[in-house]
Structure formats: C-alpha cells, structure tokens
C-alpha cells in the first residue's frame, strides 16, 4: 500500500512531505522514544507517534521510514514540517487515538 492510500483509508490529512506519498508501506511501528524506534522499526514502516518534532523527522530519514502518522491530533512543529518537505517524508495526522490507529493500520496491511 502507498502512503497516499494509507492516508485515504484512515482519513488522515497529509501535512508535509507530499513528494513521498507514493512511498510503499509494508509494516508499522508505534512509539515515541526515538532510540527505541531506531532499534526496532523496520524499513518502509508507517510510524505511529505523537512526536511531531524535527528529531522525529531525522529518525524517519535515517531509518528509511515511509511515513510518520501523528495520532490524537498531536502537534507538528514548523521546523519539522520544513525538514519533512525537504526530505520527502510524508507526515499524516488524524484524531484517532494511538492504539485504535495502530489496529486500523494493521488491518489495512493484512
């Protein structure tokens, strides 16, 4: 599934990184501790988090994460948005709580 298809399916807004929306999503990861994500998330993951800062975008770039999905309407910092646009990392946002969001994404990926 592409990031764009994922966004449509979970009714998420794409806030940044529009050039990356054709990225393929093959799996998911959930968490807010950055080193945890780098140690465990697989490449081409959709990463569900509430961490909308510039460091999260750096992690996504370096760990080949396909998109960041901000749950519970969490905030996206302006410098994070700029970095995401620069590196084509799509950032999606929805008001769905983290747990429900992961369940929904898992169903779509099955």
């Amino acid at each position: 599934m592409t990031v764009k298809e994922l966004a449509n399916n979970i009714n998420a807004k794409i806030l940044a990184g529009n050039n990356g929306v054709e990225n393929e999503v093959t799996c998911g990861y959930c968490g807010d501790l950055l080193s945890w994500v780098m140690g465990r998330a697989k490449e081409s993951s959709a990463w569900v988090t509430v961490m909308g800062n510039v460091n999260a975008v750096a992690v996504a770039v370096l760990a080949d994460i396909s998109c960041i999905v901000l749950a519970e309407n969490s905030a996206l910092d302006e410098d994070a948005k700029i970095k995401a646009d620069e590196h084509d990392i799509p950032i999606l946002r929805t008001d769905i709580p983290q747990y429900e969001l992961c369940v929904a994404i898992e169903k779509l990926l099955k």
């Binding site: 501790l33 080193s35 945890w36 780098m38 140690g39 460091n55 750096a58 992690v59 370096l62 760990a63």
Partner: protein, 141 residues
Amino acid sequence: MSESVKLSFPVLADDFSHAGEASGSLKRTLKKLGIDMEVIRRVSIAVYEGEINMVIHADGGVIDAEISAESIEVWLRDKGPGIKDVELAMQEGYSTARDHIRALGFGAGMGLPNIKKYTDEMSIETEIGVGTTVYLKVNIT
C-alpha cells in the same frame, strides 16, 4: 572503488534542529556510491545515535568517516565530559538524559546498544574531563 573515500563533518553542541545532518550527508554519499541499502541503513542509524549523543551529552565534536570497498568506518570524537562507566552506559535503558532532553524523545538509553546492534565492530575510548571517541565499523560484504 579503488581508493577509500574520506569525509569529515562538524557536530555542534546543543543544536537539536541540525542534529542528524552529519549522518544525513554521510547517508547521501553512501547512496551515491551505490552501497547496499541495508548497509546504508545500519550505518546511518548507528552514526545518528553517536551524533545525537555528541549533541546531548558532550559539546559537539567531529565525525570522520572512511569508506572503502570492504567497509565503512566511522570515528565520532568529542571533547565532552567523558563516560564514567562504559559497561553501564552500554546497557539498554541506562541514561543520564535530563527531562528537557527526554521531552524531545531521547533518553531511552538505547543509543549505544543500537550502535552495537547495527555495526560489526564498535569500541569506546573515553576519559573523564577529556572526551570520548566512539569507533564503529560496518562491513560491506
């Protein structure tokens, strides 16, 4: 690649918005050289963990990388406070990060263990009050 490629990147202290630029440029260079994507991913994550440690725990420093046909070697040197107990620092979950750093998503105590996990060789040289050098190596084949 007949000759090795050498790169050097400065890392600034307390600069969270630019942290990741050294690992990012190294990653772009590795891509241009056509190195295997999985190798690139391992190097990128390991170097970012070291880079961010230089920003958070030391006063910045310099990252040197050497890319040859066989391997990628990286030295992350800082003149920070040094690490008192390296064995303890290497344990998953050990962190001295303060609250304002944790609020950014760091401080899980997983950075050094991640460097070990993603590399073929890793070593730490450190002296209290003098600084720390983290060395890492990822084999290409």
